[in-house]
């Protein structure tokens, strides 16, 4: 089946984010979305560690250790940026002020449950960070993920088997094969990059529309 690259997927997500949106991009692949926001479209990026108006990574020599993103990578501040403390930052999330967040996932259920913080492995060291706050806080919670795991299992599932991050919180799932909307009537294929709905149903084992 046709798959699109991670960069193509990031561009696809970026193109769906309207001008003027307040957006949080999760650690990892979602961070890529920032690189593909259309030229001239103003979108305000939020980072959980206390900034709105986050800019791109600094050019050589401009690294400022007091200016990092949620992944602890060096970033810059745009004109119009504002800093605030952690309680205010998470108040923005919890209070529903972010328009969009984009998160990675281990699993997403057909009812929008998200599992992205723990595989539940016995020896794993748990770490949750801001994932649970983002999952329940943004108006639109987009997941960006490969549809299948490396071993070929669907990350879209009837019911998550991994520990949950949030219940019924995901609104849309962007995968390398297709984009799915979570609706009251189940998963709806919003767009496919080549695969048919039947093929997608087959590899996910889910009823899709």
């Amino acid at each position: 089946m046709i798959r699109i690259s991670r960069e193509e997927l990031a561009a696809r997500i970026a193109s769906d984010i309207p001008e003027g949106s307040y957006v949080n991009l999760g650690i990892g692949a979602p961070t890529l979305v920032a690189d593909f926001l259309p030229e001239g479209r103003e979108v305000v990026l939020h980072t959980e560690n206390g900034m709105l108006g986050m800019g791109p990574a600094p050019v050589d020599g401009g690294i400022d250790p007091d200016l990092i993103n949620a992944g602890k990578q060096p970033v810059t501040a745009l004109a119009g940026a504002a800093y605030f403390h952690h309680a205010d930052s998470f108040g923005m999330m919890r209070g529903g002020h972010l328009d969009v967040c984009v998160l990675g996932a281990f699993q997403v259920s057909e009812t929008g449950d998200l599992a992205n913080w723990s595989t539940g492995a016995e020896d794993a060291i748990p770490a949750v960070g801001g994932a649970m706050d983002l999952a329940i806080g943004a108006k639109q919670v987009y997941v960006m993920t490969d549809l299948l795991t490396r071993s070929g299992e669907s990350k879209l599932v009837a019911r998550c088997t991994y520990p949950l991050t949030g219940v019924g919180c995901v609104t849309r799932i962007y995968t390398d094969h297709a984009v799915f909307d979570v609706t009251a009537e189940g998963l709806v294929v919003r767009e496919t990059f080549g695969a048919t709905i039947a093929e997608l149903s087959d590899i996910t084992g889910l009823v899709l529309r």
Partner: protein
Amino acid sequence: MIDKTVPDAAAAVAGIPDGATVMIGGFGRAGQPVELIDALIAQGAGDLTIVNNNAGNGDTGLAALLAAGRVRRIVCSFPRQSDSWVFDDLYRSGRIELELVPQGNLAERIRAAGAGVGAFYSPTGVGTQLAEGREHRVIDGREYVLEYPIRADYALVSARKGDRWGNLVYRGTARNFGPVMAAAATTTIAQVDEIVPLGALDPEGIVTPGIFVDRVVSVGERAWLDDGVFVGGVDREGRAAS
């Protein structure tokens, strides 16, 4: 005359006893009060409960305090990082207790302590392992979990500038947990790059008013503030702890 300034980091951390609960500001290395932590290691207090967003990076700062065996228990949201090997080893060998708290609940619980809120209902974590055993409540059709304040005996925070009243301003994303921790501890100790005369900080821009601060120590200017040379925070190649 009110003068909360102290001459050095050793004086700043004096009196922290064994068994204390100590909040330590910072998100990763940004805003981590490394000089105060080093002084705390030298001071010798042990059996500590630490509240921090993470559980140490590399071998310095909070990681060094952990490595020195001074920490019995840590309350944090994200201990596992690419450079959290000190914590990882302690945790896997059962030599440290962990209370994992979603980051926003951590921040808000600390804020609640400072603001005298007895408890609050948060939507974060509902339906997850981290809310198991907690009291739930449906308000206006949405489910919430009851969260209690996190208080501390001491808070160690890092700020950009301070004055003799203890007023503080921060810098960039190094602000993070400093302001809420400063208000949540019985005794708050701030390290600053620079102590300025009273009145030199713009009253509109003071982020932590001195009422929340007990001791202020200058640790000197960090070189990179002026010349862009990197010290701490992220590694020299700009690769991040994920």
